[in-house]
Symmetry: D2
């Protein structure tokens, strides 16, 4: 029985790469590079096949997936051959995208509408479950609110028509309340509040997040333990991220930037075990299109205080790094749901900058946790 | 009871940094940065204290340790304050350095002379044992020889006056035969032949090696697993090492270079699990003195074959990176010897580019192996 | 007859390097690296000797020059040997530093006090002239004001007690009004307003500025013409400057940052001849002390639009780059003054990011202009 | 009347980019980025139009230009749209390529055959002249030979059947002897010997070379003067070039490498005015295809000997950088020939790493020389 993948931000670069990629994988027209779930260690784990995943989603823009795929081809993210091979699939997926949460309705109305869309999607495609994955733009940081701390307080506030949740959390509420898993691939608030954890447990549904670990933070997750294990004291870790494309434009807005940077800083501090001077800049550079350059300068002290330096330049394409992880997450979360897992899936920390429900920031230990967990899961019958 | 550290290459930059560093640590005049054995996880392990390690060694040059220390201060490797604090210790250590293996004697004569020096050192300083550590210049690659394959064949060849062993292996023979542990911090042949493994087992003594993992290879040991665990295919890993100082000058000689490069390539191939195009250059740049710059360009494929690039620039000082590892090795090997460990210490793979007796090339797993081993050892009484 | 060098910011890293450097040069204890005025092309130009330059200045802090020199030695900017050789000179210079413009007096009072200090300095040291050079921290950007546009309007505003000038411009006013040349090595307002140009012409005195071209902008000044002459279209030029020390701390304040960035952007735009996306970050990284790393990513289009990339990493010490330029400027300005030059010295554009009185931004053409001008000047008798 | 461009190496990446580019330019289907001859300063110079240049050439391989163009499209060098637009032009050019100098004939036979091909090409296309441009693989270094020093000696040797000239020089001989200009875009011997200079003067024909200045050396040509003009002493300039494609494969052969490196080193030494430690590596990295990464580390001393570092990473596509220069050269050489210029065209030094007939290595001065020369030329009537 098939599984639904409901993408919030379904017309963005990442979502389009996921949708195109799934189609190519189903046709055996793409290699499995970048897919963690294809590693030999997961060979015996019963994960859904690529042709068993049906894509739909929400978005507030209306560019067609085909149009978007064309620009990903000219940006060097998708291969030229992808267009012809996925043309009909993209057309179908396009028809399953609904208008996302915008202005003009209150929170309860949005939740109800989203739930109706999800249920309709499930029934129309005869799906076992629907996994909602947030891949939309990063939201501005949301101030803590008392209504975030308990489900009861949250429900009171929502009933009173108070605007206490950003869209990412409204999607999370809608999904979890309807018994569908929720994954936040962005640093937005999403399901990361106590109230929604209570909701997930009450509905016996799993969730995971947040902020996909694609590039610079991936490096930090292996380099920080290296410095720790060699007892080399890091004295500063400064960096600059240059981003093109839609992601860059929105991140360069100051309040969204700060959401991103908070997530990055936490990851480094927990990896090293101490505070370190770590200024990180994010700049939008239009001509980079879908690409990203991250430059880092790490300064550290060796024996007898000798100062040394490591510089890193990462030139990657976020959509191409993130898309296979989104597919991996859908597969692992589908398995978790089948196996009766409930609440924050800390075993998926490997995929996130700021993992919910876990505190291990070293990549290798996160990988061990993932493999132990996934190979031990047994689908309920 | 004190332990002897016998450095082959005792007047080089690394040996001088080790000797000075031990003195500063004994006086509590240096922090423990860079020393793995000082990590909290080893807090309950009974390792020899810094003031329980007596330094001696062999060398074929005769520059004084003080002179060498002065040039390390002006090169920014040792702090200015080190000179006054270690003046008398360096003078004493100087007096314990003997002339190394050179021309004019055959292999048996060299072995006998080295053993006499070691035994004299042990008695004069009332030492429990003497750990011989090779930190001399990298030797040219030695062709395999039948005499390397068994102790019996080796003894026959040595008795016949055949020159089948390079100096590093003569030191290893001398040490092991006399019941003293041997550690090779260089990529030279050292104890890495079956004949010497047999000798070590026959004399019930431990040995470790080879080629200290200080900079570029340290990075490879954490980055290669990262690419593997993320299923990102590395398509090339090219690099250039610019070295100043004595180490640079000798490595730039073509046959020594090739010994070094072989060791680096093996490490990468085993870390990734497949062959990859990995040209590495080594160049001597006089004005870099004690410093080293390693630049690496790693190209890899993400999802759908999208090519991406990671560049690394490592600017470090090899002596300052290697010295604490040499001290760590002496402490761990002393413990191993007290605990009755025999043969190649594969648990020390964490310290080496080309670990003897083990095949784990991921740094985190090597670290786990080290901590499990060290915390479980129990000194024989 | 000697010339006075009056440093505004006389106790900073740059001023201390200038003062120490002049003393070492006078004693023939330093090579002439970094000094443009020592190039063979200026061999016949009659510039003041290093022992003919007497240093004094203003500052608002009271750390001693010796103390400051010690920290420059430990930061690797000055050689260890400098301290003993310059001890007495630094002591004397210390005695010639007066308290700078701070709070508690109005503009006219500040100007009068500064002029008294300058005149006293001139007489006490029997100086031919005093050249005031601003090397203090960059000021926040000053809004344009009508009083900046004519000397008459400025004088009316100052007489009315209005605070229309920042300290840098008060120093410039004081110097020019007293007939002493003024040089602004910072991007502050200084003498860059029409009112002060009129004052300089009225008093028949020369001035120069602004913002010394030491590192990243020096590179831009040669690379921008290269792209232009090869008809390669630059599509973005993004960068990050990591600064330690006092300079870094003050530049990281947002309004000062913006003064610096405006100056950098103008230079690039004029060098290329068109607007380009050029985000530049400045971050303070405490552990870098006196050092600076500037990373730049330049993207450009080759034939048929093929996108290419140049990355630059500049690791320098601003004080060591700037100090010889300050000395050069004093020498050339002294010559200009002797030769009757009046107003903005556009021939000194070679030294500045944002040259006053000139619009040539290519380094080679600026160099040609400098050499033609300097070799043609004839001191009035 | 049209001009012929005869490419030696006519089926390589560079030649194919030139041929495709000329076709696109003729159709106004490409911008003029990268073309120096399109700069406004040359607006009044009468250069041949793109549609007045007919392409032919020699090669020893037989891959079709269309095939080659396809792989340049997939390598990101040519735009996707280029294929349809240039299909017929590439087909025609293909028909004008003859088999190059290979084994099985002696020098005189090769020269005669080449001359016949050139003359046939000229007549068939009704060309005013034919400009032969060598863009084939770099040859191994050729030992100096007495026959290179005078035309008379050379002719004697050739008549005697001696193999004293490599192919590049045979092409040069054939062209010049037939009264056609010759340009060497490679570091091969070509026309750079006294004997061929005499031949060119005897036949009153112009020639130019050698080794197109496309990437790393272009940077050196602007950075070296910067260090000189700032009196900053460069102490080392080390680098590594990583090359893919055919060019990379052949350059990685040791003797060809050495030809390339000699040319690079000379350029740096002449730019700085002194010898500097400048090891340069060249490595072939298959997965880079048509692309090249050059990494450079420049170390220099500032004031009082403070050591600083500049690192450069150049990621470019040699064909896209070189193709417009080849087109520029044809246009300028056609003009020179029309204007009666004879011998080495030193005014074209701007285009070459190792300019024949000139000794100016600073890019800006070379540019000035080029513009003065070109704007002053008057075609003979």
């Amino acid at each position: 029985m098939a599984v639904g993948l409901w993408l919030v931000g379904a017309r963005g670069s990442l979502a389009t790469t996921v949708t195109t990629g799934l189609s190519l994988l189903s046709q055996h027209a793409a290699s499995s590079h970048g897919l963690v779930s294809e590693l030999p260690v997961f060979g015996d784990v019963e994960l859904p096949g690529y042709d068993e995943i049906v894509v739909g989603g929400h978005d507030v823009v209306d560019v067609s997936l085909r149009k978007r795929a064309e620009s990903l081809v000219s940006g060097g993210v998708l291969p030229q051959t992808a267009l012809a091979l996925t043309d009909s699939t993209l057309g179908e997926a396009d028809g399953r995208i609904r208008f996302g949460i915008g202005d003009g309705e209150n929170a309860r109305q949005s939740i109800t509408r989203v739930q109706r869309d999800l249920e309709e999607f499930r029934q129309a495609n005869n799906l076992e479950t629907v996994i909602v994955v947030n891949v939309s733009s990063t939201e501005a940081v949301v101030e803590p609110h008392l209504a975030h701390d308990s489900l009861q307080a949250l429900d009171v506030a929502l009933d009173a028509g108070e605007a206490v949740l950003p869209p990412s959390s409204l999607y999370a509420y809608a999904a979890l309340d309807a018994g569908f898993p929720f994954v936040d691939f962005t640093p937005s608030l999403g399901a990361s509040i106590a109230a929604l954890d209570q909701l997930a447990r009450a509905r016996r549904v799993a969730y995971a997040g947040r902020d996909g670990k694609t590039g610079e933070t991936l490096l930090k997750a292996v380099l920080a333990p290296m410095f720790v294990q060699r007892n080399l004291r890091v004295t500063s870790w400064a960096g600059l991220n240059l981003l093109g494309g839609g992601d860059g434009r929105s991140l360069a807005e100051d309040d969204r930037k700060s959401a991103k940077l908070t997530s990055k800083a936490r990851s480094l501090r927990e990896g090293l075990g101490y505070e370190v001077d770590a200024p990180v800049g994010i700049e939008y550079v239009e001509d980079m299109n879908e690409w990203k350059t991250a430059w880092n300068q790490v300064r550290f002290q060796g024996f007898l205080g000798t100062p040394m330096t490591l510089q890193l330049t990462w030139q990657g394409c976020d959509s191409a790094l993130a898309a296979p992880l989104v597919i991996d997450l859908v597969r692992f979360v589908a398995l978790a749901q089948r196996s009766g897992e409930v609440g924050a899936l800390d075993a998926l920390a490997f995929f996130f900058k700021d993992p919910l429900g876990g505190d291990e920031h070293g990549l290798v230990r996160q990988f061990d946790r993932l493999t132990e967990w996934a190979t031990a899961l047994e689908p309920l019958t």
